[in-house]
């Protein structure tokens, strides 16, 4: 017997891919969790179709889940996969372009029949050749028939048997990467606690897959990826949407307010609504409204009544909320609006990621209607930016719009759990003196008005969308409107004193400054790090505060010969910067494919800039 081939890697990316009914998202998630528990840093990226069940076996129905893990810091799910698990020919076709040269493809050979090859529109019976995957290490495994064989004594129907073939694949991959099965077994036992047959059959198939790998050592390589060195602490895996929900919960607790969420389901933001609906134990009031407008207006009502009020949505939903955001601006009520961006315009690419709502967030309303705009940059820091958005809203009496995106919302990474005592305080501007209260009397420093809500005796007052004077009386005075329009803008600008200075990753001066914002952080930091390793004089300035911009932004920009703004749209942030800081020249790298950047393409754009 030959020795098993062991490949030692710093980091490895695996892509699980199959039909949208094959359970690939669950398989990927379980593998990622088991891997994180073992001490690897990870980053995940689910990539699924917008149809619930596209026709089986077609390329349009392929659902994928990529995870990268390693013994060093992992910032992205990886441009290309070292290993592809393909449950059918369509999965090969859909993922060929995401494979690392020389990678490994494990495929369910039972599914590679004429019928499925036809469904995936292959012209020959050589799908790998057609996809230029000849040089890859291919491992045919009769996953379907081995699963059937393993479960023949369970008395299950054919459909139930085939449903657990993803566990075979998972067991096999766990062997390849030396992951213990106990976490996954525990998960299966909890999830199907009421169905012992399902638990037994899934655990059996999982072990069958693992043992198959062990027995086939002569043909299957195994990989060694050591645990990462990461900061001490207690960790958990978290995706961006959960982190956002939990950040809001933390803000409610810190501010001593009840949390109200008015929302309407929309992909990919719905998980925030679901996560908060689960938290009745923490007193959260979730209101599934009849539409997006009722989502935000109910939140505005809750804010008027003294709750920490939030609405969550995605691109087209934000468009519907525009008028109501204007009302919150005019009423100067605290409100957090979360937009989990997706591909657009209109319905666009609902399950894919993009950063093209920036202009909508900044300007997409009638009248001069300024709000604070923040953007989270990793799945786990959605927690912090949601918390910060609430802090700014409550302390400055201003709507705050938090931009995340599908990549962050669905993607996950390990997160060191903070203690609530480590979090800063939040002091809502609740009015205290009824004698001196006036609805639009302002703090001289930050221009915020005071918050008084129904139930507070002596503070009775009226607010609304019409322009008011300081006492809260409706005013059509032209000078008053000019003054208030300027104040509302200035109030947002003064939030800059809550914004940390922009820091560069890399040197403070150099040849090229890569500028980016929001959810592209992981790809950007990996790119800049690799370029610097190659000796290039390149740094990164990544923005989380869009309006207002950090006050040292121009200083940072001025120390670089060239600036390139990279974003998943046609140049919205670049346009904004040209408007705010016209003294610099901005190069652009833009991608609008519904997919994250790849480190490779980012590097190419910087090389080009360095050569020019």
């Amino acid at each position: 017997m030959k020795d098993a081939k062991v490949i030692e890697l710093d980091e490895v990316a695996i892509r699980f891919s199959g039909d949208s009914g094959d359970g690939m998202q669950l398989t990927g998630t379980l593998f990622s969790d088991a891997t994180a528990l073992l001490g690897n840093d990870i980053s995940t990226f689910p990539d699924y179709p917008s149809e619930i069940r596209a026709p089986q076996g077609t390329v349009g129905g392929v659902s994928g889940f990529q995870v990268q893990f390693g013994q060093k810091q992992i910032n992205t799910p990886g441009d290309y996969a070292h290993v592809l698990i393909a449950m059918n020919p369509a999965a090969v076709k859909a993922n060929a372009k995401f494979m690392k040269p020389g990678g490994t493809i494990i495929y369910d050979s039972d599914a590679f029949n004429e019928k499925n090859l036809n469904k995936a529109n292959f012209k020959t019976d050589d799908p790998f050749g057609e996809c230029n995957l000849d040089d890859y290490f291919k491992i045919p495994v009769p996953i379907s028939s081995l699963t059937k064989e393993g479960l023949k004594d369970f008395g299950l129907d054919n459909k139930s048997v085939l449903r657990s073939k993803n566990m075979f694949a998972l067991g096999l991959v766990c062997w390849m990467f030396n992951r213990p099965l106990d976490y996954i077994e525990e998960f299966i036992k909890n999830k199907f606690a009421k169905k012992p047959v399902v638990v037994e059959s899934n655990v059996k198939v999982l072990h069958d897959g693992y043992n198959y790998g062990m027995n086939m050592q002569h043909m299957t390589p195994s990989y060694l990826v050591n645990p990462a060195n990461i900061e001490k602490g207690t960790y958990r895996n978290i995706n961006g949407n959960h982190a956002t929900a939990w950040g809001l919960l933390a803000a409610a607790e810190k501010s001593g307010l009840e949390l109200f969420l008015g929302s309407y389901p929309i992909t990919p933001a719905t998980d925030i609504l679901s996560a908060l609906s689960e938290r009745k134990d923490l007193g959260v009031k979730t209101f599934q409204a009849e539409d997006e407008i009722a989502g935000i207006t109910s939140a505005i009502g809750a804010s008027f009544a003294g709750d920490l009020a939030v609405t969550t949505t995605s691109g087209p939903g934000l468009a519907l909320k525009s008028e109501a955001i204007g009302l919150a601006v005019m009423a100067e009520l605290p409100l957090v609006i979360v937009n989990v961006q997706r591909g657009g315009p209109s319905t666009g690419l609902p399950t894919k990621t993009e950063q093209s709502d920036l202009m909508q967030a900044l300007y997409g309303r009638n009248g001069e209607s300024p709000v604070v705009v923040l953007a989270a940059s990793t799945p786990s820091d959605c927690f912090w930016y949601a918390f910060k958005a609430a802090k700014i809203a409550l302390e400055r009496m201003v709507p705050v719009l938090l931009l995340t995106d599908g990549f962050l919302g669905n993607g996950s990474e390990p997160w060191r759990i903070p203690k609530m005592s480590e979090l800063p305080s939040i002091t809502p501007r609740v009015a205290k003196d009824a004698g001196s209260f006036q609805a639009y009397k302002r703090d001289s420093e930050n221009l915020a008005r005071e918050w008084a809500f129904p139930g507070m005796a002596g503070f009775e007052h009226r607010i609304g969308g019409l322009e008011k004077n300081e006492t809260g009386t409706v005013s059509h005075d032209p000078d008053n409107h000019q003054k208030n329009t300027e104040i509302r803008e200035e109030k947002v600008q003064r939030v800059v004193d809550m914004v940390p200075d922009l820091e560069t990753c890399g040197d403070d001066e150099g040849d090229v400054l890569v500028v980016a914002w929001g959810g592209t952080y992981g790809h950007m930091i990996s790119t800049v790090r690799e370029l610097r390793k190659e000796g290039k004089n390149v740094s990164l300035a990544h923005f989380n505060y869009i309006k207002p911009l950090p006050k040292n932004t121009a200083d940072v920009f001025s120390k670089f010969k060239k600036i390139i703004v990279c974003e998943l749209n046609l140049g919205q942030f670049a346009s904004y910067l040209r408007d705010k800081m016209p003294q610099f020249e901005y190069h652009q790298n833009n991608k609008v494919k519904g997919l994250p950047f790849t480190v490779n393409e980012l590097k190419q754009s910087v090389y080009k800039l360095l050569e020019d």
């Binding site: 994180a36 810091q73 910032n75 976490y183 990462a228 060195n229 990461i230 900061e231 001490k232 602490g233 207690t234 960790y235 939990w246 933390a250 109200f260 938290r279 009745k280 134990d281 923490l282 007193g283 009031k285 209101f287 009849e290 009722a294 207006t297 109910s298 939140a299 505005i300 009502g301 809750a302 008027f304 009544a305 009020a309 109501a324 009302l327 009423a331 940059s377 820091d381 912090w384 060191r416 759990i417 903070p418 609530m420 800063p424 129904p454 139930g455 005796a457 002596g458 009775e460 007052h461 009226r462 607010i463 609304g464 969308g465 009386t473 409706v474 940390p500 930091i525 990164l540 990544h542």
Partner: protein, 353 residues
């Protein structure tokens, strides 16, 4: 609570009321203020929420908490107010354009949820603030600035929408009848659930006299049926006419004629869960029938804000997680104890300022 002695003045704000002279809105506000003064509820616990339109300026004229919001959305804003603080007495002020057109969606869903608040629908069957276009309650064929040749669409009957959305309370009043309005508002305030009160309101500028056929003092007794729970449905100068049920339909009959006796006249039961008769009463119109006023329907059903609070309490009693620290460390977590580790992901460490 009970020793509160408010008068109508306590509910008037310092703002100048800017409705047109003779507008029906004055009388409706007067009735609302009188009702509130008599409710025994501290003034700071009132929240008056409106949308857009003439009627929606209402909160500015009240010395309670008020919020003049955006077109059609008052019901949704008010839902948020009530859900956030069920302890408040929440009033929604809206018009036929605001509630039936742009706000139609929110109107029906508010009723479906049965949020415990009071919605006063000013129905003048015209758009007043935008100066005289037909509204969703304007009759087919009516000529306005936007229908110079007459409309080719049928109107909504607000009460039908309320019943259709499984409403628990519907009443109808007339702007000029402050006493009736006050009684009806009082009933609405006491009802647990969404109370919809349609007030027939006169727009002196753009639709003057639209309700005259009903309100004309010379014919009032014959054209108005004032319903009272438990009382027979009698009307006419001498209470000589009554509503009877005949062959599955309501019918007007004269007591003493064709063998109809006082006992044949229907007795109003506002609390009957089956909406059949209530719907028939809502549908009665001139000239064959008098128009029904008063509390037409008032039935009990679960209330959203009460249920929401109760569910939270139940879950809090049964679940283990009591605070955010416990939540963050719940589920699958693991410890990293390496001393020589990296210090977080460089440059992504969150900083507070």
């Amino acid at each position: 609570m009970t020793d509160l002695k408010y008068t109508i003045k306590d509910f008037k704000s310092e703002n100048e009321v800017r409705w047109c002279p003779g507008c029906g809105d004055y009388a409706i506000m007067n009735a609302v203020q009188r009702t509130m003064a008599g409710m025994g509820i501290p003034r700071e616990k009132f929240a008056v929420i409106s949308g857009i339109g003439c009627s929606s300026r209402f909160p500015y004229y009240m010395s309670t908490f008020g919020f003049h919001t955006i077109h059609g959305r008052a019901a949704a804003v008010a839902s948020g107010v009530k859900a956030a603080n069920p302890d408040l007495s929440v009033w929604v002020i809206t018009g036929d354009g605001d509630a039936m057109a742009i706000g139609g969606n929110h109107f029906i869903h508010l009723i479906r949820r049965n949020m415990d608040l009071n919605l006063v629908l000013f129905n003048n069957r015209i758009y007043g603030l935008t100066k005289g276009q037909y509204s969703p309650t304007s009759d087919r064929g009516v000529k306005t600035k936007t229908s110079p040749f007459g409309t080719v669409e049928d109107p909504f009957v607000p009460g039908q929408l309320v019943i259709g959305a499984r409403g628990t309370f519907f009443a109808r009043s007339i702007d000029s009848n402050i006493k009736l309005s006050q009684e009806v508002f009082d009933g609405a305030a006491k009802h647990k659930g969404t109370s919809v009160v349609e007030v027939l309101q006169n727009c002196v500028i753009f639709n003057n006299g639209i309700h005259n056929a009903i309100t004309d003092p010379n014919h009032r007794a014959d054209r108005q049926l004032i319903l009272e729970h438990g009382k027979p449905m009698l009307f006419g100068e001498e209470n000589e006419k009554g509503i009877i049920f005949d062959k599955g339909k309501l019918k007007v009959a004269k007591v003493g004629e064709n063998g109809v006796t006082r006992d044949d006249v229907l007795v109003h039961d506002a609390n009957e869960p089956d909406p059949t008769i209530h719907m028939a009463l809502i549908n009665m119109q001139l000239p064959d029938f008098p128009v029904a006023f008063g509390v037409i329907r008032s039935v009990s059903a679960p209330v959203y804000d009460v249920e929401m609070e109760a569910q939270i309490k139940t879950v809090q009693q049964t679940r283990k997680i009591k605070n955010v620290d416990e939540l963050l460390s719940s589920g699958n977590t693991w410890e990293v104890t390496t001393e020589n580790g990296l210090t977080g992901k460089d440059c992504s460490k969150f900083e507070f300022k």
